[in-house]
Every structure is written in structure tokens, then in C-alpha cells.
């Protein structure tokens, strides 16, 4: 997931946002030793992230705001002299708006990027306005992502009927895509997904048609990969059309051609 990312509102000409990545040996009170020392040096921690690299060692990434004339090399050197500290890296965010210690970022096993929702929605809008079969194209685009997410979850932890829904809900929340409520029967493969604050519908603006085909595809891919059966997910209600939430219907895809599907009749 995204780590060591710090965002600050405002810009102070007299100070700089400085980060330190401190490798330390674990022991009772180790972290306190570091934070106490920094406080003595007037380096108040604004954000901290602790990574337990091994049983014996850890990594502590902190962001702090320091006066411009602070000698950073000297301060880093002093931290390094602490008995529990083995290595110190540091850097400066010149503009103090957004800064990440880690590059590149990582989202469920592969490289991730941060984006404003509007940036993605602009792509979706352009497709909807200019490309034939945009809804199908967006569904297929989402489908692959959903399949990959389910594959990743399977590879790192046991996934079963009791947690498959909460896993994707957690992912959606973490990456800022929306808040999910999933009700899906593993026996009938039928159910419903409600997305509150879908990032697409939220910033798309008013539309007469549902606009979250990408998410339909993502859910379909995730559930298809998990169940091992082709799953249809269709958005039946969208916040962009004036509804409170986005709602999706889950059903088993027909195993043979169904004219109602082909000719766009109502899906039973």
C-alpha cells in the first residue's frame, strides 16, 4: 500500500518539511529514545510510520517541520550516534505540499500511483464522449484489474466465503475508490453491492446514464476469479444520476447465449 506519504496544507517560507528514515534495533523503549531525542532538538514529529523489517530491526520514517537554517546533516549525524540507531537517511520536501519517502509506491503487489479522482474521471468522460462501445471498453478495463486483485489476495492469504467481500471492501476504502457494502451468496452467486461515495460518480457530475462501468467490470473480475465462474455485475443505480448511492446487481452469467442479453432486454 501507499506508505510514508505526507501531505501538508499550507506553505511556510521560514521552514522546510524534512523526513528521516531511521533504521534501529528493537527493544523496550527504542522508539521513545528516538522521539525524545528529536523533541529535544525541536524536531516535532508530524507523521510517523513504523515498519517491522525483522524481529530485531525496524524502520521508522518520520516527517517533521524544521527551520530553514537547521543543519540537516548534523542533525542526521546526531540521530545516527544514538546507540539503537544503525542508519539514517533524510530528505527535504521543498514545497511542503505532498511528499513520499518511498518511490515507487506499491498497491497490492504491483506498482501503484496516486491520482486525483478527476484525472481518472476525465479519461472516462473522454471515452464516453468519443469512443464507440465505451461502456464495454470500460467494463473490460475494470475486469482485468478485479481479476488481478483476487489473484493477489489468494497469493498472500487464505480467501474464503467469509472474507472475500470484506477484502475488496477494505481495498476500495484504502485506495479511496469508495465504501462498499456487499451482500453476495456464494451458493447462488447472486447479490448486491452498494458503493457509497464512488470516486467516479462523485466527481463525474450529473449524468442521465450510470457512469461506473469500470467498477462493474472490476467487481465482475474479482468475483469471477474468486468463484471460478463467470459473474455478471451490472450497475442499476448510480449516484451520478441523482441517487444517494451506486448499486450493482450480481448474478451468474448465462452459460449460453441468451437473446435478452444480446439484444439488451432486461436482465432477469
Amino acid at each position: 500500500m501507499v506508505r510514508d506519504l505526507c501531505m501538508f496544507a499550507g506553505f511556510n517560507e521560514d521552514s522546510r518539511i524534512v523526513w528521516f528514515k531511521i533504521s534501529y534495533s528493537k527493544g523496550p523503549g527504542s522508539l521513545s529514545v528516538i522521539s525524545d531525542f528529536l523533541e529535544k532538538e525541536n524536531a516535532f514529529i508530524k507523521f510517523g510510520h513504523i515498519d517491522n523489517i525483522t524481529q530485531e530491526t525496524g524502520e521508522y520514517s518520520i516527517f517533521t517541520e524544521l527551520k530553514k537554517d537547521t543543519d540537516l546533516d548534523e542533525l542526521a549525524g546526531k540521530i545516527k550516534e544514538l546507540e539503537i540507531v544503525s542508519a539514517v537517511e533524510h530528505g527535504v520536501s521543498e514545497f511542503g505540499m505532498i511528499y513520499s519517502v518511498d518511490f515507487p509506491q506499491n498497491v497490492i503487489g504491483v506498482r501503484g500511483v496516486m491520482s486525483r479522482a478527476l484525472t481518472i474521471v476525465d479519461i472516462i468522460k473522454t471515452l464516453n464522449q468519443s469512443v464507440p462501445h465505451a461502456e464495454g471498453l470500460l467494463t473490460l478495463s475494470g475486469l482485468r484489474g478485479g481479476v488481478d486483485a483476487a489473484k493477489y489476495f489468494k497469493s498472500v492469504m487464505p480467501i474464503n466465503n467469509s472474507n472475500f467481500a470484506s477484502m475488496i471492501a477494505e481495498l476500495f476504502r484504502a485506495v479511496g475508490w469508495g465504501i462498499l457494502e456487499i451482500d453476495c451468496s456464494p451458493e447462488t452467486y447472486e447479490g448486491k453491492i452498494i458503493v457509497k461515495d464512488s470516486f467516479i460518480a462523485d466527481v463525474y457530475g450529473r449524468s442521465e446514464q450510470p457512469v461506473c462501468a469500470f467498477m462493474s467490470g472490476y467487481f465482475a473480475g474479482y468475483l469471477t476469479e474468486y468463484f471460478g465462474k463467470n459473474i455478471s455485475v451490472r450497475e442499476v443505480s448510480c449516484k451520478a444520476t441523482g441517487k444517494d448511492v451506486c448499486e450493482y446487481i450480481i448474478s451468474l452469467a448465462p452459460s449460453s447465449a441468451v437473446k435478452e442479453y444480446q439484444l439488451r432486454g432486461e436482465i432477469k
Partner: protein
Amino acid sequence: MIRQPNVILGNDKLLVTMGRKGEIFGLFYPRRDHAQHAEESFACIHTGDRLLWTNDIEWHSSQNYVEDTNIVSTKLYHDSGIKISILDLVHPEVPVLIRRFKVQSQKKISGKFFYFSNLNVGETSKKNSAFCDSDARLLAQYWQNYNIGIYARPEFTEWQIGKAMDTIWWTNSKYDMEDGKLQRNKEDIGNINNAVGWDLDLGAGETNEFVIYIGAASSRSMLYKRMHELSKLPLEHIFEKTREYWVMWLSKKHVLKMPGIEGYNNLRQELFNAYNRALLMLYLLNDHEYGSFVAAPEFDSNFEKCGGYGFCWNRDSSELVLALKRSGYPEYCDRFFKWCIRTQMPDGSWFQRYWLNGDIAPSWGNFDYSTQIDETGSTLHAMDVYYRTLEGLKKVEFLEDVWVSVLRAAEYLMKRTKSGLHESCTDLWETYYGIFTYTSAAIYAGLMGASHLAEENAESGMARRWKKRADFIKQATIDRFWLQEGYFAKGIIHEKLDKTVDASILGAYIPFRMLSPKEPVERDMILFLIENIQKKLSVPINTGYGIKRYENDAYIDGNPWIVTTLWLSAAMFSFVLDLPNGKEGPYAEEVEKLTNEGIKCLSWALEGATSTGLLPEQVDKSSGKPAWAIPLGWSGSLMLDNIILFDKICRRNAGKQE
């Protein structure tokens, strides 16, 4: 999507373009320019747990033509130990592509062999319809009177027709293949794709064979009949018939000898091969009904990065038919000039470019100021060059056929050159508006040709008038554009003399002969031109240098072009042949130098070809690989011209030694 082919094949009605892994990029029927029915079409293996798409980067490939034919052999190797040999041929008489796949594996496989196609029949993804006749085992997709069918031996055992780009994604054939089992949907409409499949059960080292027929027809019943009849014939029989067809067609060619070039390693054989390949390639670019040629098979139909190439330009085609005539195929001139008579504009000019049936094509040259006057000059020039080769009744009949067209075209050129230099128009590279050396030379040659034809037609008054104007144009071009640095300026652009060195100024000598090596001053001018173009436009890549179009060329990275490089060598060889006494005369040193430099250019062009020997438009200046339009007809015709010129030099030298 822009994809450059590595190989092409076809017959009179069908043109197929393919990538280096045997994946189909284009299926043109019934014309070379329209309609292009295939977006994707290639094989895929399901190993039991995953799909191996044969166009994937995981496969290594080698590809070549079966010697002296338009039959293609492609070999694919996968790191997992699977090998696929593909033999592709188009039956000489019916528009059916036959694809034989031999699949071999080092390890046991229990999976599927799939053949996937995303067809846009009628060159549209809209309103298509497809069905699988499970009794006849024929899968067909159609739009209006275009019918494309897929049939196979052995018969496919499963199939799918599904939506290619839709929310009901599970019907999509591409996704349907992932579980190793097709859903057998028998019909669908809209933007659709399809797949057919067979069981693939291979023991270690065993081979399975699948023969796929992809045919085209103007009606459903004809499609059925074609597939049915063809599938009854043994593949070996069709292969032999097809091979024989190409070999027989090539046997009509002007025979090369090239005595005395043993010292150049394998050059003689390479040139023989290149000669045959250029001829076979030009066959495939020509519309046998109308006589026109596509400049190259279309690969950018959305005009994403250029204006497209799947149209007929008079400039290119005039050169093509003359090269084919010199190579022993005069019938292409006859058909093309008939097409020219039919397509001439009301004002006597020819349009920028046409569809092969003669309709005007999408253009950025719709006005007098944006048209390309050189194309009218080129066409007239070519008519006269061809006329001079004819004899007897044929000569009389040709003149009778073209005379009105010649008259109208010459008067158009007269109208646009009242001051000696032509009125502003677009240059041959279709980039600049202005007045150009190349265009002036083309007009000069056009009027000189027209003058000769008028003389032959007993119209001496017109002949004198047109020749007088031609001489005036020549003098004006030399007076205004010849620079003391020893070359022609590109022309006048934005009302200023543009001194950029442009390879097209070679046109003043070859092919338009505005400068004559028989005149001492002009002989020196030609030598200066050659020298300056070499000096200013050479781009070192591969084992030699290629010539770019002009200084600061920005089109597709400003690569060196096969056309300009072979244009330069053609000028060198022509100059050698134009000099009296060749190697023995006062220009002996120049003769040897120019011959050797010309050979270097030829070798460089051969190095820039695809693995199958097709000549591209350009060679990538960084990688040395074929670039942009592949194959380009104009590159092929210049290769023919160069080889014939070089053959003449060899024969002349050998004759003297004897």
C-alpha cells in the same frame, strides 16, 4: 492501431498483410485499398492451464518467403518447448488464404488449439453479423455483400461468436478461451469476435496439424461453395499450383546476367533475389481490374500519424509501371494509362491521390494552390517514355488512346507555368506550398513528352509550343534555383529562396532529364548534385549510409529513406551509362567511383529490408530496421530500375573485356 507488416501475400482479389509472427494485420478484399476486413486473426494455444497467444512477446520467430513465390513460411518457438510452423498461401484463383499450422511440443500437452479472429467485415465494426454453421463447420461473418468465412481441416470441434467490446464480457471470444473451452454460441450481431478450437493432445515430440481456410466472397452461397470445393483438394496440390503460378509469372521477366561482379561476395545472388521479390511485391500492390497501385498496404487507416498509404498516387504509379515495363511486364503500363485517362480531372490535371477504382481519395490537395502539379508532369512523361518503347500498330493505337488526355494535361501545365516557374502548389513530399525544383523538372519532362507525342501525331504546332515552354521552364529553373554551392535550391517557400538540400532535386536529372550529361556544363552540374546530396543528406546506419529526404526533415524522425537512397544510386548508375566510353573514357575515375558508391547504396537498401526481403519506405536511423510504410511500391520500383541499370553496366564492362 498502427502495425507495420513484415510480409504480404495474396492474389488478384485478396491482399493479406502479416506481422513477423504470422498474425494477420490486414485482409483486403476485393481491392487492395478496400475493404480491410480484419483487425486481428491469429492462433493461440491453451496449455491446460494458460493461454499462449502466438503474437505474444514470449514467442521467437523467423519468417521468409518460399523462394520466388508469395508463399510464406513462419516458424514460432516458445521457451516452454512448443514449436509452430505456419505455411501461408493464397490460392491463385480464389480469394482464400490457406494457413497450415504444425504444432509440436517437447513436452506432453493436453490442451486446446484455438484460432481467434476479430473481424470488421466491410471495414466497420458496426452492423456486422456472424454465425457458425455447425453442420457445415463453417464460421462466417458478413456485412452487406462482404462475406468472410473460416473453415478448417480437421473440422473445428468448438467455437464461439461473442461481443468484442461489451458489458456482457463473458461472451467475448477472447475471454471465453481462457478456461480452455468455448461456449459454442452460434450467432450474434454488432461488434463481434470469434474463435474456433480443437483438442490438442500431444505426446513429447509429437506433431498436430491444422489447416485453416479464411475465404472471402460476395455472397453467402459462393462462400460455402468456395470453401467446400477448396477443402476437397489436397493441400500439396494447392501448394504446387500456387508455387507454379508464381514461378511461371516470374519467368516472363527480363533476364539479368550481371557478368563480372564475382568480387562482391554474394551481391549477384542478393540482387537476383531482390529483383524477384520486388516484382512479386508489385504484383500484390496492383489492382488487376483497374490498373492502379496502392503506394503501400494501408496500416494507418485512421491517419493517426500520417495521411495513409493505401491509395494510388500518379507520381508513384508512373514510376512503378515504367519499372515493370523495363522488367518485362508491359501490360501494367497499358492498364495504368487507361486508368489515367479515366481519372483525369476536368482541368486536365491529376488529383493528389485516388482510390484504386478511380474515385478521388481523402486529400489535403483540393485547391489549385495545394494540388501537386508534378503528378501531372510525371504522368505525361511516363506516357511518352512508354510510347517510345512501342512498335507498329500498338504504337499507333496507344497514341490514339492517350492523345486527348495528353492534350488536356499539357494545356493544364501551360496554364500553370506562364512565367516559366510554376504557380504555387504542394511539393512532392506533400509538406510545403511553393515553387520547387522537382516540380519544375517534372513539368519540363511532361511538356517535352507531350511535345514528342504531338510531333508523332502530326501536331507540329503544338509540339513547338510545348517544347518552347519546356525550354523556358528549364532556363528559369536554372537561373533562379541553381546555387553557386553546386546544387539546386529546394525552391521558393513563403516567397523566399529555400536553399535546403533536398534529395528530390535529383529529379532534374533522373527521371526527368532536364539536365543532360551530353552537355559539358550540365554534366558537371549533375556531378555536383550527386556530391552535395551525398555530403549533406547521408545518415550512417547499418554497414553504410542512407539518404534522408532533406535537411531538417522531421517526418517520422527524419529517417533515411530507401527511395532517396536508391534514387541517388540510380542517378549514379545512369550517369555512368550516359558517359561515352565508360571505364575507358576521360571520366574513367568518376565511372569507377560512382559505380562503387551506387553498389554501396544498393547494398544498404537490401540491408534495410524485412526478413522476408520487402523494402520499406524508410530505415530507422537508430536501429537500422525497416521503418514506416512496408512494403513501399516506389522503393520496389527503384530497386528494379537500379538492378537493371547495374546489369547494363556489368554487361557493358564485360563486353569491353571480351
